[in-house]
């Protein structure tokens, strides 16, 4: 299958990346090239093969459910592009 200009617009919104209208066609071309190329995986017989979900053959360890860090709002907020008191700020999301 092939991605259309509208598909690219939709993917860009899902990824929350602003794409200028005049870039949609060239980007569709680039993405289609890559997707066409990775589709060669369909040649591989994977019937009965388990998907690899962990590289190391180990069970993820569990940790004690206890607070081990915190109480450092200044450190947490130090890199915020904008803040108010001890809060990050975002554009208004409720009416």
């Amino acid at each position: 299958m092939s991605l259309t200009r509208e598909d690219v617009r939709k993917i860009a919104f899902l990824a929350r990346i602003r794409i200028a209208d005049e870039e949609l066609d060239s980007l569709a071309g680039e993405l289609n090239n890559i997707i066409g190329w990775v589709e060669q995986l369909s040649e591989v017989d994977t019937d009965g093969v388990e998907p690899m979900t962990s590289v190391a053959e180990m069970t993820l360890p569990q940790r004690v459910d206890a607070v081990s860090d915190g109480g450092v709002p200044e450190k947490v907020l130090a890199n915020a592009p904008d803040r108010e008191a001890d809060f990050f700020t975002v554009p208004k999301v409720v009416e």
Partner: protein, 486 residues
């Protein structure tokens, strides 16, 4: 007088121990070299004050008889993907503008605690996505090597700044990270040793994440022994990274001088590519001959799914990247570009903050993970990945290491392969399979091509068998007798 900027860690540590040189003198010599070679653009941030301070502390420790080991006083560069406390960390991206971490990555903290002296943060492809260092927001890095035609060449990538710094004498060693070849390929392009440990050997905590099931930190050095020394300081279990292996770190130099006698070496037939330059094949054959002359037993092996490793990688890695890079939202750190609504702010920030290659990969990843395509692409790739790992597992029943080229060419000119993403991706055709299987691998500089440019040979070993990997690599290094830049 010895040129202090051409020493190996092994040589420098001996000189420090003998009192022939101080850590401050080593740091100053490298800072001067950084000054002189700034046009290579290898560093994004230089940290001379930190370097001089840590060097002075190292000398003070040594004077009291408290030197901590072979990394104490060694001037190193740190890839700008490792978070460093109080020092700008950019990942080569506009979107991390001004980001100054309030914490130190585990690996760089371990190096610091072993006495290593940080000279600065090295340039890289944006978010480590690239094979040429041309995707960096901070501009391309130049390879310190030049071919006979005098063109400016890429250093490889993504750890291109680290490779250029070590090859040119600006740093004695450097950290890199390798997701699909980002340590080994620039190692090959710049004529240095680049080593990717087993997935889980080094903590990923505090390293800006690209593809979490693939990313691994490793050393970039002038010798195999240096790589073993540096990895010793970097490796170890870290409770802050749940995928870091809860196991003891072996002595990586344990078998370094045991030679290749009796080693069983596999030559994977699928790594012979159509159209591969003759000199790559010739060097590979030469490598086999060197190891056989040293007493190794080389046999042809088959890794039948090799051809699918690269397309498989270009589903898995972008998928993980699209998820990892979701955190760059203009709220908590880095760049923010305002918009009328929250979504517009996100879109504007990420539209402006990400470069073309990162944007491409995040969108591919978003697509292959999206409803309706997840099984066809992502789950399929995970299954193929199982087959790739299984190929290696079967092969390692009969062999100890795999010998292969590191890259399908020597360094190419800055500007080449820019407009064809897939041609660029093919740089990693020999390095990606070991990444997909989580295996330790190393590139050893082994020869020069017709233009006089370095070429590396790659060795791959079983999971957590870095000791054998270093042993084989040292044997290859001894036979090759490669001369780095002077």
């Amino acid at each position: 007088m010895t040129d202090l900027t051409r020493l190996t860690i092994t040589e420098a540590a001996a000189k420090l121990d003998a009192g022939e040189v101080s850590a401050v003198e080593l740091a100053d010599a490298h800072l001067a070299a950084m000054d002189a070679a700034r046009d290579l653009n290898a560093f994004i941030t230089e940290t001379p004050e930190i370097a001089r301070q840590r060097a002075a502390q190292s000398d003070a420790r040594r004077a009291k008889g408290d030197a901590m080991g072979p990394m104490d006083g060694i001037p190193i560069a740190v890839k700008d993907l490792f978070c460093t406390e109080g020092v700008l960390t950019t990942a080569g991206s506009h979107i991390l503008d001004g980001f100054t971490p309030p914490y130190e990555s585990t690996v760089s903290a371990k190096l610091r605690d072993a006495g290593a002296v940080m000279l600065g943060k090295t340039n890289l492809d944006e978010f480590a996505m690239g094979s040429s260092n041309i995707t960096s927001y901070y501009g391309p890095v130049k390879n310190p090597w030049k071919g006979a035609d005098g063109k400016e060449l890429v250093p490889g990538g993504s750890s291109g700044g680290s490779a250029a710094a070590v090859a040119s004498g600006m740093a004695m060693a450097a950290t890199g990270t390798d997701t699909g070849g980002s340590i080994r390929q620039p190692g090959s392009f710049c004529g240095i040793v680049g080593m990717k440990p087993t997935y889980g050997r080094c903590s990923r905590w505090g390293i800006v994440a690209f593809a979490s099931s693939l990313d691994q930190a490793g050393p970039m050095t002038r010798s195999v022994e240096d790589a073993a020394i540096m990895l010793q300081a970097m490796a170890g279990h870290d409770p802050k990274d749940s995928t870091s292996a809860p196991m003891q770190t072996p002595d990586f130099r344990a078998q370094l001088r045991d030679g290749a006698k009796g080693l069983r070496v596999g030559i994977p037939k699928e790594y012979t590519l159509d159209g591969m330059p003759g000199e790559i094949q010739a060097l590979w054959d030469q490598g086999r001959q060197w190891l056989e002359d040293a007493g190794a037993i080389c046999t042809e092996i088959s890794l039948p799914h090799t051809d699918y490793a690269l397309p498989c990688y270009y589903i898995v890695a972008p998928a993980e990247a699209s998820s990892n890079l979701a955190r760059y939202d203009g709220v908590r750190y880095g760049l923010r570009v305002d918009g009328g609504s929250l979504d517009e702010m996100y879109e504007n920030t990420r539209g402006e903050g990400f470069g073309a290659e990162v944007r491409r990969r995040v969108m591919i990843g978003t697509y292959v993970l999206s409803a309706g395509y997840y099984d066809a692409y992502y789950v399929k790739a995970q299954k193929v990945r199982s087959l790739i790992a299984h190929d290696f597992k079967q092969a390692f029943a009969d062999i100890d290491v795999v010998l292969a080229p590191t890259a399908p060419s020597a360094a190419f000119a800055i500007g080449e392969k820019m407009d064809d993403p897939i041609a660029m991706y093919l740089n990693d055709v020999f390095t990606v399979p070991a990444s997909m299987a989580g295996l330790p691998a190393i590139s050893v500089p082994a020869g020069l091509d017709a233009m006089g440019l370095p070429l590396g040979l790659q060795l791959i070993a079983r999971p957590f068998d870095e000791v054998t990997l270093f042993r084989a690599a040292r044997a290859l290094e001894d036979a090759a007798g490669f001369e780095g830049l002077k």
